[in-house]
């Protein structure tokens, strides 16, 4: 009974979406926009209904039955709504609709353009809605109503993971509107700097949300997985990074279009690429084609559907681009001009994107030919490293340059001075830390060049703050700090595996660990074996309590890390699943150096992006 209501709402939603197309073809523009918005609102309603069913543990609804349990804490019952394939797909569709509706509310200048944007957005929305109803309906009825649900993966019962998917979706699903804006502009022959200014906040907000989503995922991986790291080049992680790289290239290309009215066709192409990669990511994660701790439940049939959708959307977009792209004027630019360096930015970002795309899909393509290989972090780190150094240097130079002219002499001197200071600094760090790896030196030097260039630049323009692009300053500074921290963390962290019994003390370098206690507690829906460790570092004492949990529903064992932040680093301790009979506990201790810098860098990047969404002038 209950789910019939939701299904009626969904059917109505599709009906209005079709109606919107019909009105559009009959040139009844206002109606086509209104019916789209009604459809969008109906989808939002159905999602709210799903949340209600989850929070009230209504097991007659299939999605609730398969993914929830009465013993789950209320907060996680709520968030369980989008912690499964069907619910998250509904959220996906909701966001496509939401971006369209918001655009229709905020934009009112050119009604033809607006109608085209809504038309394209509506069809992206419609195609996924049909997929949902036909193949992934969360509201399928289960009769008779089961007494209890099948529970949820305990790893997903984590606050960070609750917010990670919504932010990711607001990000890469938001690029659907970017695509619609581009296609509408192509078709109405309005792909110019005015269009770039209109699209800017929509593209930027999608990018910001995506960055936040990826950051949350990374923080979660650090705190939850217990592997001491924050990025593993896991295919699902890569699936979110790829649209991010394309989106970043798009933003920079959009900048050229906005200010100089150049690179129309290229910008349009990047927009298509960005959303296609978002779709590819969706496909990779849901189709069962990938082996990953993150992947959703496997279902090849769903995969086919999504694959077809991706190819339809991408091919049609590219066809539109081919037919409607305008003639490019033949202009030349000098090497040390801003345009050229923005082109270089695009080249490097797309190169990184290509490497990650290749590494992620190569095993899949090979498996279709009955071969199998594995690609791990080494491949990515080895190929990317040298190019990152050059990229950071280019990133330091670019903002100093002028549009369409070559660089001024005094700017050259300025840069060279900063460059040598950075080299010196890095050299001192290397000497002081007694390391001799070249890669470390290059990493430190190039990120310091970027950081110092920005700091010097800001200090020079003390009195004329409104002339600096503050958002660029924050984001680029964030990148510099991020990369610097990545290298410091990578080279100066330490790991130690050991076994220990109660009362024993282990010493590594200047840290001593003492297992003082070990007991078993019963909490909510799990059994916990908690350990107490006393840590002494340089005469400072603190405790860590790593534990192991055994969940009841479903039967699963997880390891909970215990982390102590200090000024420059983290003490990070995990225990392994012990032999139930023995008194010996296996543990792994990480000294994670400069991990705070990594988070801080990411926060700065996000902050710069937020500033940019709201800026009024160029």
């Amino acid at each position: 009974m209950a789910s019939s209501l939701a299904n009626i709402i969904l059917i109505l939603s599709i009906f209005f979406s079709f109606l919107s197309n019909l009105f559009f073809f009959k040139k009844k523009i206002k109606l086509s926009i209104h019916t789209f918005n009604w459809s969008s609102i109906l989808t939002i309603t159905s999602f709210l209904l799903l949340i209600f069913y989850f929070s009230s543990s209504n097991f007659s609804i299939s999605a609730v039955y398969e993914n929830s349990h009465t013993l789950k804490p209320f907060f996680y019952k709520l968030s369980g709504t989008w912690g499964n394939h069907e619910g998250s797909l509904l959220l996906f569709i909701l966001i496509v609709g939401l971006y369209g509706t918001l655009f229709s509310l905020f934009y009112d200048k050119n009604i033809t353009f607006k109608s085209w944007v809504i038309f394209f957005q509506n069809n992206i929305y419609l195609i996924f809605l049909i997929f949902l109803i036909v193949k992934s309906n969360p509201f399928d009825l289960i009769i008779p109503t089961p007494e209890e649900g099948l529970g949820l993966n305990p790893i997903l019962q984590d606050p960070l993971l609750v917010f990670h998917p919504p932010f990711l979706y607001l990000g890469y699903v938001g690029f659907s509107l970017t695509l619609s804006l581009v296609l509408a502009a192509l078709v109405t022959k309005q792909l110019d700097s005015t269009w770039a200014k209109i699209s800017w906040p929509w593209v930027m907000s999608s990018w910001v949300f995506l960055t936040i989503g990826i950051t949350l995922g990374s923080i979660w991986a650090y705190y939850e997985l217990g592997w001491g790291g924050y990025w593993f080049w896991d295919p699902v992680e890569n699936a979110s990074l790829m649209p991010w790289l394309a989106g970043t290239a798009l933003i920079h290309s959009l900048l050229v279009l906005k200010i100089k009215n150049k690179m129309q066709n290229w910008t349009a192409l990047l927009a298509i690429l960005t959303f296609s990669l978002s779709l590819l990511g969706t496909f990779l994660v849901r189709s069962g084609i990938l082996n990953s701790v993150h992947a959703f439940a496997n279902d090849p049939d769903r995969g086919i559907f999504i694959l077809v959708i991706i190819f339809l959307i991408t091919t049609i977009s590219l066809l539109i681009h081919t037919f409607y792209s305008s003639h490019t004027t033949n202009y030349k630019i000098s090497f040390f001009s801003k345009e050229n360096f923005l082109n270089i930015n695009n080249l490097f970002l797309l190169f990184f994107l290509f490497i990650i795309l290749l590494g992620t899909t190569y095993p899949i393509i090979l498996s279709a030919l009955n071969e199998s290989i594995s690609i791990g972090p080494d491949y990515y780190n080895t190929i990317l490293a040298p190019f990152i150094f050059i990229f950071l240097i280019a990133m330091s130079i670019g903002p100093i340059l002028k549009w369409s002219q070559s660089v001024r002499l005094k700017d050259t001197y300025f840069f060279l001075i900063v460059f040598f200071i950075a080299l010196l600094f890095s050299f001192l760090i290397i000497i002081f830390s007694k390391r001799n790896e070249l890669i470390l030196y290059l990493g430190l030097a190039s990120s310091l060049v970027l950081i110092l260039t920005i700091l010097f630049e800001v200090s020079k323009i003390r009195y004329k703050i409104h002339f600096i692009n503050l958002s660029r300053v924050f984001s680029h500074l964030g990148v510099g700090i991020f990369i610097l921290s990545v290298f410091l963390n990578s080279y100066f962290s330490k790991t130690k595996d050991f076994e220990i019994q109660i009362g024993e003390i282990k010493k590594f370098d200047n840290v001593s660990l003492n297992l003082t206690n070990q007991n078993i507690l019963k909490i909510n829906n799990y059994l916990e074996m908690r350990t107490d460790f006393e840590i002494i570092e340089n005469n400072k004492l603190f405790t860590l309590n790593p534990s192991i949990r055994r969940y009841f529903q479903p039967d699963q064992i997880t390891s909970e890390t215990s982390i102590k932040p200090t000024l420059l680093s983290n003490h990070y301790l995990v225990i392994n699943f012990p032999d139930l009979n023995s008194k010996i506990i296996g543990a792994r201790y990480y000294y994670n150096f400069f991990i705070h810098g990594i988070w801080f860098g990411l926060v700065l990047i996000i902050f710069g992006g937020i500033l940019s969404v709201f800026k009024k002038r160029v």
Binding site: L225, K332, F351, G376
Partner: protein, 117 residues
Amino acid sequence: MRFFFIIYLLLLSFSHANEIDTRVNTISKNIRCLVCEGQSVYESNSDFAKDIKNYVKKEIMNNKSDKEIYDFLRTKYGESIIFNPTPSIKNIMLWLAPALFFLIGVYIIFRRLGASR
């Protein structure tokens, strides 16, 4: 005198043990855990991962080289147990394609360069 000698040997064996552990860790990070979802043997706690780690440690103490250990595992489990494929005809695209991509990109950028108006 004997006392100090024993301490010296102990310390030597600790630092040696440290080296072995580091090497076990480095190698384990390159071996894929086949019963996990894409984790490396270093990261996993499954029985399979523990067995592999023990095996690696044993072989290191028998003075086997990294390559010998990887090769042995490849003959038993196939190419996909090792992260980072050995360069071969099949895999040449993994390095050739990026190179081509970058070179084409550089060419495209160069085409635009010249004296501006």
